[in-house]
């Protein structure tokens, strides 16, 4: 056999990917991540697997492949960023960070598609974003999206997503009371959550208060920047992160809470995102240490048990809760506090639904291929409510159920808890 080939030094110095080579080198090529990867399962090509993508990254860093190689872009674009590979990897490869670094590096050479840039620009502009979601909400209220949800193709799917964002639960208003002794919390309202899932936001506030937290408003907050970071627009994400850190510092609460798994994953990574920014790194790390998913706070509190409400439900874990934040048990603890629920286990509940931020808009065909088994598994459960804590998943799964004619809706876990508390208030308990 030939003699050892000396591996050259990094071929792309100064790029975000160059700073991530230690993470790339942690991959030992064992293949344990293959069966965890939804795109590998759907396509059967190692280039669309974690191991293959890491190999592509390594080839970029070593100069074997050029930054403008179209195949590299194809396979990196197809990654959902679901990070199921991270929770399968014994070697601790920080795949999420590698993906962001790779996308940021590739974006320097080839701009992301126009669709993606428009969406990101929209999310970064608070006023405009609010106007757009307000319009969407008005449209939703007309009931037209539900009628148009069966239209074929992407357009019909978009209407179905909008229609499915409406809360499936109606509940009586009730006044939530607690001691406030568990500490003060500010809610990251979230662009999509506040725009289309306001009911879940209010439910979050009420259930936290009922479990003895004090809610403190944080008025100057922005989009969390998760979509930007995932798309490789790290600078855009950093700008938004700095604004949020300042806004929540000014609010002065002990903790920051979110009910959107995707937002929460990035809040917890602000420290990493701003690690090289001397002026902000310490503040960012402190902010990340204070960030929590709502289910973590509720689980820590017990939580208080409500009155019985009877639904047959199944839980689907959002990737950014399960794999990125590694929060597994807490949402189930929240459901445990609701008497009367009939809980059915969902096969492969830790697999991605294909929503993945704006992925379903950029890679609709593959997104649909990843989604199909999820819907089939849900149908088998016979559940009428699919519980999941992330707006993208709520709409993606909700839309597919609606279009497939499966008689089930999606709902955020805190909304169910809230409904249970509302029932308790009504019965005077």
């Amino acid at each position: 056999m030939s003699e050892p080939v000396a591996v050259p030094a990094c071929a792309i110095p100064g790029t975000p990917l160059a700073n991530a080579t230690a993470g790339i080198m942690a991959c030992v090529h064992c293949g344990f991540c293959l069966q965890a990867c939804p795109t590998y399962l759907a396509l059967g090509d190692e280039n669309d697997s974690p191991r293959g993508r890491i190999f592509l990254m390594r080839s970029l860093a070593e100069g074997d492949l050029a930054l403008d190689d179209p195949s590299v872009h194809t396979h990196i674009d197809r990654c959902l960023g679901c990070r199921a590979c991270e929770t399968a990897c014994p070697s601790g490869v920080p795949y999420g960070a590698l993906l962001e670094a790779t996308r940021a590096t590739l974006a320097q050479v080839v701009k992301p598609p126009l669709r993606a840039r428009l969406i990101l620009a929209l999310f970064a502009r608070r006023g405009l974003m609010r106007a757009v979601v307000a319009a969407a909400r008005a449209l939703r209220a007309t009931g037209i999206p539900r009628l148009l949800a069966r239209l074929p193709g992407d357009l019909g799917f978009a209407f179905a997503m909008l229609a499915s964002s409406a809360s499936p639960l109606s509940r009586a208003r009730y006044r939530s009371r607690g001691t406030g002794a568990r500490g003060s919390v500010s809610l990251l309202r979230g662009c999509v959550m506040e725009g289309l899932f306001a009911a879940a936001n209010r439910a979050t506030e009420r259930t936290l208060v009922a479990n003895d937290y004090t809610m403190v408003p944080a008025p100057n907050q922005h989009c969390c920047g998760a979509l930007h970071a995932h798309a490789g627009d790290l600078e855009g994400a950093r700008t938004l992160a700095r604004r949020n850190i300042a806004a929540f510092e000014a609010a002065g609460a002990e903790l920051v809470v979110t009910n959107a798994a995707g937002c929460g994953a990035l809040l917890k990574e602000y420290g990493h995102l701003l690690a090289d920014d001397d002026a902000w790194s310490a503040r960012a790390a402190a902010f990340s240490a204070r960030a929590r998913d709502v289910s973590e706070l509720l689980a820590a509190a017990g939580p208080r048990v409500g009155a019985p409400i009877s639904y047959r439900v199944t839980y689907d874990a959002p990737c950014h809760l399960q794999h990125a934040q590694r929060v597994h048990a807490e949402p189930l603890v929240v459901l445990d506090a609701i008497p009367g629920l009939e809980r059915v286990a969902l096969v492969d509940s830790d697999q991605c639904c294909g929503s993945a931020g704006i992925y379903n808009l950029l890679e609709p065909a593959l997104s649909a291929a990843v989604l199909a088994p999820k819907i089939a598994h849900i149908e088998v459960t016979g559940a009428t409510l699919v519980v999941t804590g992330n707006p993208g998943c709520l709409m993606q799964i909700g839309a597919a159920l609606c279009r497939a004619g499966v008689p089930a809706r999606t709902v955020h876990p805190v909304e169910l808890l809230d409904a249970s508390y509302a029932a308790a208030a009504r019965s005077g308990r």
């Binding site: 030939s2 030992v28 344990f32 190692e46 697997s49 070593e62 074997d64 590299v72």
Partner: protein, 495 residues
């Protein structure tokens, strides 16, 4: 061992001579790609170098050979058509399952085309009454066990890679696993194979009744490392889940003590379902990973021992094993209290190889079998070699059957370290051979162990192996350049 390359592995570097040599082949490659695409569709063929790189390594990435083409049939018929086309074009090929092999067996030498079987992953049937299952070659090992679980059955051979590796790959490597100590390796569980020979002819070896018919050709095919053809359909025996299972973790302050306990347990006539050993560095790598199993981080060695069978009598065996461990110097012996703890203890063991990725950027693993009684001596010798070559060896292995897996972490970007690792690998192998051992327990010869074959086989026996291969693949187009060194065959042909 270090990074080995034959075909250009770096797309950017100029390779004028090779490009010239291969020009003829390259034109053919395009034509071949379109013929293959006519069978499997455009999306079933990879022809761009940038997309073929992902197929240049298996689980031992120190070797990189980029294939010229890769084809992925989606149905058995497509696979048959592909192999027949390759036969007509006289084209060499290499099967690839999940690419978790640890001997660079699935790499394409020369002009071989990679035939990827991972899309042929269906479980065709499960027959719970006769305890048989029929699967496509790309079915993942653990998927089969999960499906069989519905009937209280499982597929017994459980390589540590079982969540990723394919049954076809298992057949080709005659893979083992922790529980093979009691239940036997792949060969003991495959009852029939439908195979396609490199000529395109389809034949069935063995049968579901397990009756022998003349020569044991099934036995010859299992472990043939892809050199005899491709398994199209595999019929395996399923094993009933045991009534009772007890999992013990014994920890020791020296490797020696662990090795003595192993010998004592086996000598006492106890047959555990599994008996695995991990040394201190391995334990610490696992404990730092997401598969942390609660092994004592300050131990020099742990034994993971599983006993199974009828509930009656099981606890008496547990007590005997515990006594042997304590007598050999175990600090503590812990028994898994429930299924959750048992799973955790096993996950740590099974993901140990991957977890070692945290120690160094590159990793090589050796796979030798030695007589169990020589375990303490050989382990001491390996430690001395590590000291001499200034490298770090982690040991994690199937102690019960004397199958060693010394792992060495290193940085391939450091040429001196790579050289020392290569030397140490040879020293270790030599030590195992000298102790009366052999060069592969379960990972196969592939490319990695080729150089050791003449050390353990005489020229006559190598020539006989070539003759057997010729019976299946006279044109030597299936996985060329693997297992038996080419010159051995030339000598035989010339003789």
């Amino acid at each position: 061992m270090a990074l080995h390359t034959e075909t250009p592995s770096r797309a950017s570097g100029p390779q004028p001579e090779q490009a010239q040599d291969r020009r003829g082949a390259l034109i053919q490659t395009e034509a071949l790609a379109s013929l293959l695409a006519a069978i499997v569709g455009e999306r079933g063929v990879l022809a761009r170098p940038s997309e073929l790189s992902a197929y240049s390594s298996d689980g031992l990435p120190g070797y990189r050979l980029r294939p010229r083409l890769a084809v992925f049939p989606h149905t058995t018929q497509q696979l048959v058509d592909v192999v027949r086309l390759l036969a007509r074009k006289q084209c060499p090929f290499v099967a690839r399952g999940a690419g978790t092999g640890l001997s660079a067996g699935a790499l394409a030498r020369g002009d071989a085309v990679v035939v990827g079987l991972n899309r042929l992953n269906r479980i065709i049937s499960i027959d719970p009454l006769n305890r048989l299952a029929v699967v496509e070659p790309g079915a993942v090992n653990v998927t089969l066990s999960r499906a069989a679980g519905a009937y209280g059955l499982h597929y017994a051979p459980d390589p540590s890679s079982q969540t990723a590796c394919t049954i076809g790959g298992n057949v080709a490597e005659n893979s083992g696993g922790p529980h093979c100590l009691k239940y036997g390796v792949t060969l003991n569980h495959v009852v029939a194979l439908k195979v396609i020979l490199p000529s395109g002819e389809i034949t069935t070896l063995g049968n579901a009744d397990g009756e022998a018919e003349g020569y044991d050709l099934l036995g010859a095919f299992v472990g043939s490392e892809g050199c005899f053809g491709i398994a199209l359909e595999v019929t395996v025996r399923l094993t009933p889940n045991p009534q009772g299972v007890r999992t013990l973790l014994a920890d020791f302050t020296s490797i020696d003590a662990g090795a003595r306990a192993t010998s004592a347990i086996i000598a006492a006539g106890i047959l555990p379902a599994a008996l695995e050993m991990m040394d201190g560095p391995t334990i610490r790598a696992v404990e730092a990973s997401i598969y942390a199993a609660g092994y004592p981080a300050d131990a020099s060695a742990v034994l993971l021992i599983e006993l199974d069978g009828m509930d009656e009598g099981l606890d008496a065996d547990v007590q005997r094993v515990e006594a042997h461990c304590l007598a050999a110097g175990a600090r503590t012996v812990r028994i898994a209290a429930n299924e959750e703890e048992r799973t955790r203890l096993w996950q740590g063991r099974k993901k140990a190889f991957g977890a070692m990725g945290r120690i160094a950027p590159d990793l090589v693993v050796q796979d030798a079998v030695i007589p169990r009684t020589r375990l303490p001596d050989v382990l001491r010798e390996i430690a001395a070699i590590a000291e001499l070559r200034q490298i770090q060896v982690c040991n994690v292995f199937h102690a019960g059957d004397g199958n060693l897996h010394p792992n060495i972490g290193y940085d391939s970007r450091n040429p001196d370290e790579s050289r020392r690792v290569g030397l140490a690998m040879r020293d270790i192998m030599q030590a195992c051979i000298d102790a009366g051992g052999t060069i592969t327990g379960e990972h196969g010869v592939g490319l990695d162990k080729l150089e050791y074959m003449p050390k353990i086989f005489s020229p006559e026996s190598l020539a006989a192996q070539c003759a057997l291969r010729d019976a299946f693949d006279p044109e030597r187009r299936a996985n060329p350049g693997k297992v038996v060194p080419v010159h051995s065959c030339r000598e035989w042909v010339g003789a």
